[in-house]
Amino acid sequence: MSDRQEDVVEPRLEAAVRRALDTSAHRLPPSAPPLATVLRAGRRRRRVRRAAAGALVTAAAAAGVAALCVGVPLLGSSSKGGVDVGSASRAQATSGASGLPAPAHSPTPTPSPSGSAPGPTVVSIGAGTLAGIDWTAQVSVGAEDLCQHLVIGGTQVDAPAGRWTDCVPVQESQPDGDVGVHTAPGGGLRLLTSFGADTVARTVVTFADGTTRQGDSVRIPGTATEGTVVPIAPGQRISVIDLYDTRGTRVGHFLGYA
């Protein structure tokens, strides 16, 4: 087929594809919507979410009390020349004597307050305040699903329309990671979360003004997944998102998350 002929055919090809798709789709026999099944499954998911949210509140309250008792702020993500510093992913304490970083602690899973059946385990991957806005990021891990629960300024913002419509299968962590940017109503502060295989050690966000902020990964208990959260201050534009493994090798590179 000559180029000229292809030029002519291309719009026809598109139309042919439309027509063929239409024909194929309409070959399906109509089926009755399984409303009862959908509602039952939906209610079960909602119960799990509420249980996780209850555990989240309990964990947050416990963390608040602990922080008050110890008098040490949570630390985690760091900002180089950035606008502000928010606490974040993995607590990075500095040992008083040597000044060397203390070993990262393992997150403390919080079992859900359910009855005999084991509920999801909830773990914090970060919390803090940036630009005067409080935020928290937690992950609940059930038997099959891994779900994130994000709160910005008191509003839950689990990405309702993204891949994280709710949850993803536990075993789905990608070697090069997956990232998402989550925004509360009205914009303002955003949370960038990334989940990757357990080789992912940290996520570094480079902003349009050249500054960077990074978050260290937190191992999600019972999975081979690491989760990271990095708060993005209001007005900051993301230029590049890079994920690094424990040896400092870049394993993920994402653009287009302004």
Partner: protein, 186 residues
Amino acid sequence: MQNGTTAAAGGRRGGGEGWGDFSSFVAARWTALVRTAYLLTGDFHEAEDLVQVTLAKVYPHWGGLRTETADAYVRRALVNNNRSRHRRRRVVQLLMPFVPDRPAADAGQGGLGERDLLVSLLAGLPERQRAVVVLRYWEDLSAEEVAELLGCSVGTVKSQASRALAKLRDLPELKELALTGLGAER
């Protein structure tokens, strides 16, 4: 992972359970969603399962959805869940490389006894290309809408569509349709 943004306040569905609205939505949109899912998955049973799981996932969020964006929201969730399903299936295939072909499972599905060639070819496309084709040419979304839904640039959508069309062009029936102009109108 897609960019996720929360539905803005205002214009939300009424408070309470919202089951009535949700039920009406499922009843009204079930068939169309299954058709889209069928084109995405290439399998009728997987399509129904995908829509069912997607709706169950959407249900807890239903009360906070804006009426005018609910359909787009569900469609987006459908595509994203298919992406997850695709990855799970890939893992299974890696673990079980000699999975026998599905027996004539469609035999009981009326007109689906013969799996149509286009759907087979679609199923052979990379997941993103398939999604672009279905959203662009079946759902009739603009390149900008597809880009937003898939969380990629408009340029990516166009290039993916172009590559997909290049592969579909080899389908004899399509070639014939395109050459004869029978497909000029949907």
